[in-house]
Symmetry: C2
Subunit: 145 residues, 2 copies
DNA sequence: CTTCCTGCAAAAGTTTTGCATTAAC
DNA sequence: GTTAATGCAAAACTTTTGCAGGAAG
C-alpha cells in the first residue's frame, strides 16, 4: 500500500472511533510502516520525532482501538507495536530467544488454510469462538546463532 | 505423569542446573500441575501455600531456567506460568480476548507435523534456526461469548 | 470557541533486589 | 558448618493518569 493511501485508510479508521488523525499520529504510523517489524517504545521514541513518552503510549492505545496498530507482547521488557494486519496483511513472527529481535514472515497459503480449519474445529469443540490466531517461531537469529 | 514421578523428574532437572528442590518449589510444581492451565502470580499465591511474592518470582525464574516451567505472556497485567512441555506434552492455548482466560488445547498430529515442516523451511530461508513454535487462538470463551 | 490532543510530572502496578534469618545438604 | 533459599521491605522499571497549555475542527 502506498503511504498516501495508508494515511487515507488510517484516517478513516480513526474517524470511525471518533478520533482525530493528528501530525503525531501520522508520524507514528509512518515510523511503524518503515520499520516493517514490531518496534518497542524506546525505538519509536528514538525514531526522530520528538514525542513525549506518555503521548506515545496514549496514541498507540488509540491507534490500537482503531485497529490501526497491534500490540505484540514478546516477554521482553517493552511491548512492541506494528501496523495492524488490516493494513499489512496476515503474517507471523520469528522471535530470537537470545536477543529478542522480531522479524515478519508469512507461511504458505495452503498451510494457513488448513491451520485455520483445524483451529476453528478445535475451538468450537471447547465452546470457544475463534477469531484469529497468533503463530510465532522461537529460535535464534543469524546474528546470535 | 503421576505426581510422584513428576517430582523425580523435576528434582533431576533442578540438580542439572545446580539448584535444590525445596518444599516451596515442590508446592509450586504441584499447584501448576493441578491447575492444568497457565496461572498468573496472584492465583499462585492464593493457592494455599504461604509464599512471599518475591519468593514466587524468584522460584519461578529458577524453575524456568531448569526447564520445569514456562512463562506465558498474554498481554494481561500479570504473566502466567505453566509446567514446561517436557512434562506436560506439546500443546497450544485458547486465549479469551475478553476475560483473559487461557485454556490448553492440542491440535491433530498431522497438522502439527506439516506446520513444523513448513516453519523449519520458512525459518531457514531467512537464516533463522527454529527451535519451537507458539500458536495461540484468540477469541471469546463460552462465558464471555 | 469548544473539544480534544500534548507534554510534563507524578502515580500506579508488576517485577526485581538487598539483607538478615532460616532451611538444605 | 557452609551454602543457598526465604521473607520482608524497598527499589527499579514499564505503563498509566492528572492537569495546565496548545492545536484541531
Amino acid at each position: 500500500m502506498a503511504t498516501a493511501d495508508l494515511h487515507i485508510v488510517v484516517g478513516a479508521k480513526l474517524r470511525n472511533v471518533g478520533q482525530r488523525y493528528t501530525a503525531r499520529r501520522r508520524a507514528l504510523v509512518e515510523i511503524l510502516e518503515r520499520a516493517r517489524q514490531p518496534l518497542p517504545i524506546p525505538e519509536i521514541l528514538d525514531a526522530g520525532m520528538s514525542l513525549a513518552q506518555s503521548s506515545a503510549y496514549r496514541n498507540l492505545a488509540v491507534l490500537e482501538q482503531a485497529h490501526v496498530v497491534r500490540r505484540v507482547v514478546t516477554g521482553e521488557e517493552f511491548s512492541r507495536y506494528e501496523l495492524a494486519e488490516d493494513l499489512t496483511g496476515h503474517h507471523h513472527h520469528l522471535v530470537c530467544s537470545n536477543c529478542g529481535a522480531v522479524r515478519d514472515v508469512t507461511i504458505p497459503t495452503r498451510l494457513e488454510r488448513s491451520m485455520e480449519r483445524a483451529l476453528d474445529e478445535v475451538a468450537s469443540d471447547t465452546g470457544f469462538a475463534a477469531v484469529s490466531h497468533r503463530l510465532d517461531l522461537i529460535g535464534t537469529c543469524r546474528a546470535c546463532g
